[in-house]
Amino acid sequence: MNPVVRGVIMYVFLLLLLRIMGKRSLSEATTFDFILLLILSEVTEQALIGRDYSLTGAFISITTLMGTDLVFSLLKENFVTFAHVTEGLPLIIVDEGKPLEKRMKKSKVSDDDILEAARASFGLERMSQIKYAILEQGGDITIIPFNNPNLKKK
Protein backbone atom coordinates (compact mmCIF):
# COMPACT_ATOMS: atom_id res chain seq x y z
CA MET A 1 0.00 0.00 0.00
CA ASN A 2 1.08 3.53 -0.71
CA PRO A 3 3.05 4.92 2.28
CA VAL A 4 1.08 8.19 2.32
CA VAL A 5 -2.23 6.29 2.54
CA ARG A 6 -0.74 4.03 5.24
CA GLY A 7 0.39 7.05 7.25
CA VAL A 8 -2.97 8.84 7.09
CA ILE A 9 -4.91 5.65 7.93
CA MET A 10 -2.66 4.90 10.92
CA TYR A 11 -2.91 8.48 12.22
CA VAL A 12 -6.70 8.54 12.02
CA PHE A 13 -7.01 4.99 13.41
CA LEU A 14 -4.82 5.76 16.44
CA LEU A 15 -6.67 9.04 17.04
CA LEU A 16 -10.03 7.26 16.98
CA LEU A 17 -8.82 4.40 19.15
CA LEU A 18 -7.30 6.67 21.79
CA ARG A 19 -10.48 8.78 21.89
CA ILE A 20 -12.58 5.62 22.32
CA MET A 21 -10.30 4.40 25.10
CA GLY A 22 -10.93 7.59 27.03
CA LYS A 23 -8.84 10.41 28.45
CA ARG A 24 -7.26 8.41 31.21
CA SER A 25 -6.04 5.59 28.94
CA LEU A 26 -2.48 6.80 28.42
CA SER A 27 -2.19 9.71 30.81
CA GLU A 28 -0.83 7.69 33.71
CA ALA A 29 2.52 6.03 33.17
CA THR A 30 1.92 2.81 35.07
CA THR A 31 4.00 -0.24 34.18
CA PHE A 32 1.18 -1.58 32.02
CA ASP A 33 0.80 1.71 30.18
CA PHE A 34 4.52 1.79 29.55
CA ILE A 35 4.42 -1.73 28.08
CA LEU A 36 1.33 -0.82 26.06
CA LEU A 37 3.10 2.24 24.64
CA LEU A 38 6.13 0.16 23.66
CA ILE A 39 3.98 -2.46 21.90
CA LEU A 40 1.83 0.18 20.22
CA SER A 41 4.87 1.97 18.81
CA GLU A 42 6.39 -1.29 17.56
CA VAL A 43 3.18 -2.46 15.84
CA THR A 44 2.54 1.01 14.41
CA GLU A 45 6.05 1.11 12.98
CA GLN A 46 5.52 -2.20 11.19
CA ALA A 47 2.18 -1.09 9.79
CA LEU A 48 3.64 2.23 8.68
CA ILE A 49 6.76 1.09 6.87
CA GLY A 50 6.18 -2.61 6.21
CA ARG A 51 9.41 -3.86 4.69
CA ASP A 52 10.43 -0.54 3.22
CA TYR A 53 13.61 0.43 5.07
CA SER A 54 14.63 3.08 2.54
CA LEU A 55 15.48 6.64 3.51
CA THR A 56 12.84 7.89 1.05
CA GLY A 57 10.23 5.63 2.66
CA ALA A 58 11.04 7.12 6.08
CA PHE A 59 10.87 10.67 4.67
CA ILE A 60 7.46 9.93 3.13
CA SER A 61 6.06 8.42 6.36
CA ILE A 62 7.39 11.19 8.61
CA THR A 63 6.21 13.95 6.28
CA THR A 64 2.79 12.31 5.96
CA LEU A 65 2.36 12.01 9.73
CA MET A 66 3.48 15.59 10.36
CA GLY A 67 1.36 16.84 7.45
CA THR A 68 -1.71 15.01 8.75
CA ASP A 69 -1.08 16.48 12.19
CA LEU A 70 -0.80 19.94 10.63
CA VAL A 71 -4.08 19.47 8.73
CA PHE A 72 -5.79 18.34 11.94
CA SER A 73 -4.43 21.31 13.89
CA LEU A 74 -5.65 23.71 11.18
CA LEU A 75 -9.08 22.05 11.26
CA LYS A 76 -9.12 22.36 15.05
CA GLU A 77 -8.23 26.04 14.82
CA ASN A 78 -10.99 26.76 12.33
CA PHE A 79 -13.74 24.46 13.54
CA VAL A 80 -14.31 24.61 17.29
CA THR A 81 -16.64 21.59 17.35
CA PHE A 82 -14.02 19.52 15.51
CA ALA A 83 -11.48 20.55 18.16
CA HIS A 84 -13.88 19.59 20.95
CA VAL A 85 -14.60 16.20 19.38
CA THR A 86 -10.99 15.28 18.61
CA GLU A 87 -9.31 16.78 21.68
CA GLY A 88 -12.09 16.53 24.23
CA LEU A 89 -13.04 19.12 26.83
CA PRO A 90 -12.24 19.61 30.51
CA LEU A 91 -14.68 18.09 32.97
CA ILE A 92 -15.23 19.12 36.59
CA ILE A 93 -15.15 16.01 38.78
CA VAL A 94 -15.07 17.58 42.26
CA ASP A 95 -17.27 20.52 43.15
CA GLU A 96 -16.84 22.32 46.50
CA GLY A 97 -15.19 19.26 48.06
CA LYS A 98 -17.87 16.90 46.80
CA PRO A 99 -16.83 14.22 44.30
CA LEU A 100 -19.20 14.08 41.31
CA GLU A 101 -19.50 10.29 41.30
CA LYS A 102 -21.40 9.85 38.04
CA ARG A 103 -19.00 12.04 36.09
CA MET A 104 -16.06 10.23 37.68
CA LYS A 105 -17.46 6.80 36.86
CA LYS A 106 -18.11 7.72 33.24
CA SER A 107 -14.58 9.11 32.95
CA LYS A 108 -12.98 6.15 34.75
CA VAL A 109 -11.55 8.37 37.51
CA SER A 110 -11.44 7.16 41.10
CA ASP A 111 -11.27 9.02 44.43
CA ASP A 112 -7.70 7.77 44.75
CA ASP A 113 -6.74 9.39 41.43
CA ILE A 114 -8.08 12.74 42.64
CA LEU A 115 -6.44 12.49 46.06
CA GLU A 116 -3.16 11.52 44.43
CA ALA A 117 -3.32 14.62 42.23
CA ALA A 118 -4.26 16.72 45.29
CA ARG A 119 -1.29 15.39 47.27
CA ALA A 120 1.08 15.83 44.33
CA SER A 121 0.09 19.39 43.49
CA PHE A 122 -0.76 20.96 46.86
CA GLY A 123 0.01 18.38 49.50
CA LEU A 124 -3.70 18.19 50.38
CA GLU A 125 -4.83 15.50 52.75
CA ARG A 126 -8.59 15.26 52.28
CA MET A 127 -11.23 15.57 49.58
CA SER A 128 -12.91 18.31 51.60
CA GLN A 129 -9.87 20.55 51.02
CA ILE A 130 -10.46 20.46 47.25
CA LYS A 131 -12.66 23.18 45.83
CA TYR A 132 -12.56 21.91 42.28
CA ALA A 133 -10.88 18.98 40.57
CA ILE A 134 -10.88 19.08 36.79
CA LEU A 135 -10.18 16.26 34.40
CA GLU A 136 -8.30 18.11 31.71
CA GLN A 137 -8.32 17.50 27.94
CA GLY A 138 -5.12 15.49 28.12
CA GLY A 139 -6.36 13.25 30.94
CA ASP A 140 -4.48 14.99 33.77
CA ILE A 141 -6.31 16.02 36.92
CA THR A 142 -5.95 19.65 38.01
CA ILE A 143 -6.72 20.60 41.60
CA ILE A 144 -8.00 23.93 42.84
CA PRO A 145 -7.94 24.02 46.65
CA PHE A 146 -10.18 26.15 48.86
CA ASN A 147 -8.54 29.48 49.54
CA ASN A 148 -5.92 28.85 52.16
CA PRO A 149 -2.94 31.18 52.47
CA ASN A 150 -0.85 28.37 53.93
CA LEU A 151 -1.18 26.25 50.77
CA LYS A 152 1.45 26.60 48.09
CA LYS A 153 1.61 24.77 44.79
CA LYS A 154 4.42 22.22 44.84
Partner: protein
Protein backbone atom coordinates in the same frame (compact mmCIF):
# COMPACT_ATOMS: atom_id res chain seq x y z
CA UNK B 1 -28.38 9.28 26.96
CA UNK B 2 -27.56 9.48 30.68
CA UNK B 3 -29.54 12.45 32.02
CA UNK B 4 -28.66 11.91 35.68
CA UNK B 5 -25.15 13.32 35.32
CA UNK B 6 -24.55 16.01 37.94
CA UNK B 7 -25.21 19.53 36.64
CA UNK B 8 -23.38 22.18 38.63
CA UNK B 9 -22.82 25.92 38.75
CA UNK B 10 -19.20 26.88 39.08
CA UNK B 11 -16.98 29.91 39.02
CA UNK B 12 -14.34 28.42 36.74
CA UNK B 13 -13.62 29.98 33.38
CA UNK B 14 -13.76 26.74 31.42
CA UNK B 15 -15.91 25.45 28.59
CA UNK B 16 -17.33 22.20 29.85
CA UNK B 17 -20.08 21.44 27.30
CA UNK B 18 -21.54 18.62 29.38
CA UNK B 19 -23.83 17.46 26.58
CA UNK B 20 -20.80 16.85 24.38
CA UNK B 21 -19.25 14.78 27.18
CA UNK B 22 -22.45 12.76 27.51
CA UNK B 23 -22.53 12.11 23.75
CA UNK B 24 -18.84 11.24 23.92
CA UNK B 25 -19.45 8.66 26.64
CA UNK B 26 -22.20 7.03 24.57
CA UNK B 27 -19.94 6.93 21.50
CA UNK B 28 -17.15 5.58 23.71
CA UNK B 29 -19.33 2.68 24.89
CA UNK B 30 -20.30 1.91 21.29
CA UNK B 31 -16.60 2.02 20.41
CA UNK B 32 -15.79 -0.44 23.21
CA UNK B 33 -18.48 -2.76 21.83
CA UNK B 34 -16.99 -2.44 18.34
CA UNK B 35 -13.54 -3.23 19.76
CA UNK B 36 -14.91 -6.33 21.47
CA UNK B 37 -16.59 -7.49 18.25
CA UNK B 38 -13.35 -6.85 16.34
CA UNK B 39 -11.33 -8.88 18.87
CA UNK B 40 -13.85 -11.76 18.89
CA UNK B 41 -14.02 -11.89 15.09
CA UNK B 42 -10.23 -11.65 14.92
CA UNK B 43 -9.82 -14.54 17.36
CA UNK B 44 -12.33 -16.60 15.35
CA UNK B 45 -10.27 -16.02 12.22
CA UNK B 46 -12.17 -13.45 10.18
CA UNK B 47 -8.82 -11.86 9.40
CA UNK B 48 -6.94 -15.15 9.03
CA UNK B 49 -5.41 -17.84 11.25
CA UNK B 50 -8.62 -19.23 12.68
CA UNK B 51 -11.78 -21.26 12.49
CA UNK B 52 -13.57 -18.90 10.09
CA UNK B 53 -10.68 -18.64 7.67
CA UNK B 54 -9.64 -22.29 7.43
CA UNK B 55 -10.86 -23.88 4.25
CA UNK B 56 -10.53 -27.44 3.06
CA UNK B 57 -11.43 -28.74 -0.40
CA UNK B 58 -11.53 -32.49 -1.05
CA UNK B 59 -11.78 -33.74 -4.60
CA UNK B 60 -10.91 -37.18 -6.02
CA UNK B 61 -8.82 -38.10 -3.02
CA UNK B 62 -6.80 -34.87 -3.10
CA UNK B 63 -7.15 -32.45 -0.19
CA UNK B 64 -6.18 -28.77 -0.28
CA UNK B 65 -6.11 -26.72 2.94
CA UNK B 66 -5.76 -22.96 2.79
CA UNK B 67 -6.85 -19.71 4.45
CA UNK B 68 -9.96 -18.16 2.94
CA UNK B 69 -9.31 -14.84 4.71
CA UNK B 70 -5.83 -13.48 5.13
CA UNK B 71 -3.74 -10.34 5.28
CA UNK B 72 -1.42 -8.88 2.69
CA UNK B 73 2.31 -9.62 3.07
CA UNK B 74 1.70 -12.06 5.94
CA UNK B 75 2.91 -15.62 5.42
CA UNK B 76 0.37 -18.39 5.15
CA UNK B 77 0.40 -22.04 4.12
CA UNK B 78 -1.39 -23.88 1.34
CA UNK B 79 -1.22 -27.57 2.17
CA UNK B 80 -1.82 -30.21 -0.48
CA UNK B 81 -2.42 -33.83 0.45
CA UNK B 82 -2.28 -36.19 -2.52
CA UNK B 83 -1.28 -39.68 -3.57
CA UNK B 84 1.63 -40.04 -5.92
CA UNK B 85 0.96 -41.25 -9.43
CA UNK B 86 3.99 -42.94 -11.03
CA UNK B 87 6.09 -41.83 -8.03
CA UNK B 88 5.27 -38.18 -8.66
CA UNK B 89 2.90 -35.56 -7.31
CA UNK B 90 2.48 -32.78 -9.81
CA UNK B 91 1.17 -29.39 -8.73
CA UNK B 92 0.41 -26.62 -11.22
CA UNK B 93 -0.26 -23.08 -10.10
CA UNK B 94 -2.29 -20.93 -12.47
CA UNK B 95 -1.09 -17.49 -13.66
CA UNK B 96 -3.79 -15.99 -11.39
CA UNK B 97 -2.23 -17.81 -8.42
CA UNK B 98 1.25 -16.42 -9.10
CA UNK B 99 -0.30 -12.99 -9.51
CA UNK B 100 -2.17 -13.22 -6.19
CA UNK B 101 0.53 -14.92 -4.13
CA UNK B 102 4.29 -14.75 -3.86
CA UNK B 103 5.74 -18.20 -3.22
CA UNK B 104 8.15 -18.00 -0.28
CA UNK B 105 9.14 -21.69 -0.22
CA UNK B 106 7.84 -25.18 -0.78
CA UNK B 107 8.21 -28.08 1.64
CA UNK B 108 9.67 -30.38 0.42
CA UNK B 109 11.72 -28.83 -2.35
CA UNK B 110 10.41 -29.88 -5.77
CA UNK B 111 12.49 -32.02 -8.06
CA UNK B 112 11.28 -30.20 -11.06
CA UNK B 113 9.99 -26.67 -11.61
CA UNK B 114 8.91 -25.40 -15.00
CA UNK B 115 6.51 -23.11 -16.82
CA UNK B 116 3.64 -24.73 -18.70
CA UNK B 117 1.37 -22.44 -20.73
CA UNK B 118 1.84 -19.66 -18.18
CA UNK B 119 1.26 -21.94 -15.18
CA UNK B 120 4.03 -22.76 -12.76
CA UNK B 121 4.41 -26.55 -12.55
CA UNK B 122 6.18 -28.39 -9.73
CA UNK B 123 7.08 -32.07 -9.66
CA UNK B 124 7.52 -33.70 -6.24
CA UNK B 125 8.93 -37.23 -6.20
CA UNK B 126 6.89 -39.32 -3.72
CA UNK B 127 5.61 -42.77 -2.96
CA UNK B 128 2.14 -43.28 -1.50
CA UNK B 129 0.36 -40.24 -0.13
CA UNK B 130 2.19 -37.13 1.00
CA UNK B 131 1.72 -33.56 2.19
CA UNK B 132 3.19 -30.69 0.22
CA UNK B 133 3.25 -27.25 1.76
CA UNK B 134 3.47 -24.00 -0.16
CA UNK B 135 4.42 -21.12 2.10
CA UNK B 136 3.02 -18.07 0.33
CA UNK B 137 2.46 -14.38 0.87
CA UNK B 138 -0.66 -12.69 -0.52
CA UNK B 139 0.40 -10.03 -2.99
CA UNK B 140 -2.93 -8.44 -3.90
CA UNK B 141 -5.68 -6.95 -1.75
CA UNK B 142 -9.35 -7.92 -2.10
CA UNK B 143 -11.09 -11.06 -3.22
CA UNK B 144 -9.34 -13.36 -5.63
CA UNK B 145 -9.68 -16.80 -7.15
CA UNK B 146 -6.54 -18.81 -7.87
CA UNK B 147 -6.36 -22.09 -9.71
CA UNK B 148 -4.32 -25.06 -8.45
CA UNK B 149 -4.11 -28.36 -10.32
CA UNK B 150 -2.89 -31.39 -8.36
CA UNK B 151 -2.35 -34.55 -10.42
CA UNK B 152 -4.81 -33.23 -13.02
CA UNK B 153 -7.47 -32.45 -10.36
CA UNK B 154 -8.43 -28.80 -10.54
CA UNK B 155 -9.11 -26.62 -7.47
CA UNK B 156 -10.30 -23.04 -7.32
CA UNK B 157 -9.07 -21.33 -4.17
CA UNK B 158 -11.18 -18.26 -3.44
CA UNK B 159 -9.84 -15.93 -0.79
CA UNK B 160 -10.24 -12.43 0.58
CA UNK B 161 -7.04 -10.57 1.40
CA UNK B 162 -7.18 -7.64 3.86
CA UNK B 163 -4.88 -4.66 3.41
Amino acid sequence: MPKDIERIRHSLEIEEHLNLHITGWVVQRIGWGAMLVFIVLGSLGLFGDGFLSRQQIIREGVVVHYERFFRIQAETEIRVHATAEANLIEVKLSPAFTENYRIVRTIPEPNDRRLENGSLAFGFPATGSADIVFVVEPATVGSNVSGVIVNDVRFELSAFIYP
